[in-house]
Symmetry: C2
Subunit: 254 residues, 2 copies
């Protein structure tokens, strides 16, 4: 993850690398990690400064939540046992509740939900297609990793909305209680099978890369200017720290 | 539908035809319909007399509801537009709520939900595989027709449970409000395209046949005795009348 993070947040990449075709090959880190603590007087940004307008925020967050729901419901359909189907129904329900809450915010502010989500459909569908996983375990990891990262991201990004909305959306997206079963199921399978562990660790790295890219594209950074990536780095560093803890819980190296 | 109903409920078929391999070919009706009103002194059965024990009832109803949910979530995934995805999220949520309520009844009565559903998994998965549909429209019809028939059936079948449970389950399974979008979407497409109308009418007939069979297998009729199918006929006749009204709403002949 650290190597991958480098191209997301390196002060020298100036955003270009974010949009190159992803080959799945890890990019060598270009910036020595030790440089981060040095007195560079980097003007670190709060994520709230990059929050897009409410409509874009909600449209994107809602469509992404629908995509997370689709991954959960795919997992229900391919579950190899009834216990898994039943447990994942709670994950799907949690995701649908979040979606419904975001759509309610859109309706409350006078927007048509479908029309507001439409502009994000193509990009997020493409993201969804490459991040659903090839089997039960990969799909479980996908649901867990992507929901963990994106819910976290959109809670942080809500800081830039009006305080009342930020609070409602924070309360809506924060609950992560439904993932207990996924952790138990994956942990057991991973402990029993070292080959699965290495495959899923690799899959997790690909997921975090793709998910940070889709999160990155939600930021209100004008496309035609080179954003100061150094100011974004702390944002992604915190998200990755939380991600690393989630992977640890599975017994996987982030 | 009438021709198909004949082998479900004919007084002469004695249940055998219910379990023969289905060829998709309509069976000629063996009993003249006019015979129904004649003074045959048939001892008609209330569905509540055939209610299985609570555990079987809930296990089967819950797993079928999960299967209905899977059809709704498949429709979300293949929806050709964002409006459809958004509208179907309500159908999926409604179905998940029903599932969750049935599971809560299981838990309340001290049963493990997954273990209780397990015996029904194979049969219902097979039903699900052949009833999900080949495209967006067929999947919409499937969700609408199957949920309509089965929710209706399990509300009626609940009559044989304790009154309090019957009431709770009735309240749980009855709301059908989420299907408004499906009706509008299908009606518009069907009006515009006669070929689609005939394809979906045929698909609807296959669905009703398969769904009545899976409903039939929930009845507490000992497998080794020949049940008096004449006594079952009124039950299915009422279900099919409701089904016919639902097909009418789409502009399709049942």
């Amino acid at each position: 993850v650290r190597a991958r993070l480098a191209f997301v947040a390196s002060p020298f990449s100036r955003g270009r690398d974010l949009f190159r075709p992803r080959s799945g090959v890890e990019t060598p880190r270009r910036t020595p990690r030790s440089g981060r603590g040095a007195p560079q007087t980097v003007n670190r940004v709060a994520l709230g400064e990059l929050t897009p307008d409410l409509t874009s925020y909600l449209g994107r967050a809602a469509y992404l939540q629908l995509s997370i729901f689709e991954t959960a419901s795919l997992a229900i359909s391919i579950a190899p046992h009834t216990r898994g189907k039943n447990a994942l129904s709670k994950v799907a329900a949690s995701s649908l509740e979040k979606y419904d809450g975001l759509v309610a915010e859109l309706t409350r502010s006078g927007h048509d939900p479908a029309a507001t989500m439409e502009p994000f459909r193509r990009e997020i569908d493409a993201f969804h297609r490459v991040t659903t996983g090839a089997d039960w375990y990969e799909t479980l990891v996908a649901g867990y990793v992507i929901a963990g990262l994106l819910d976290d991201f959109f809670v942080r990004l809500a800081e830039g909305l009006h305080a009342e909305q930020a609070q409602r959306i924070g309360a809506l997206l924060r609950p992560e209680g439904a993932s207990g079963y996924i952790v138990d199921e994956l942990r057991t399978a991973i402990e029993a099978n070292p080959q699965l562990a290495s495959r899923l660790a690799m899959w997790g790295r690909r997921l975090v890369g793709d998910t940070l890219l889709i999160a990155r594209s939600a930021l209100a950074v004008p496309a035609d200017t080179a954003p100061d990536e150094a100011r974004l780095e702390p944002v992604f560093t915190e998200m990755i720290a939380a991600h690393t803890r989630r992977m640890d819980a599975l017994g996987l190296t982030a």
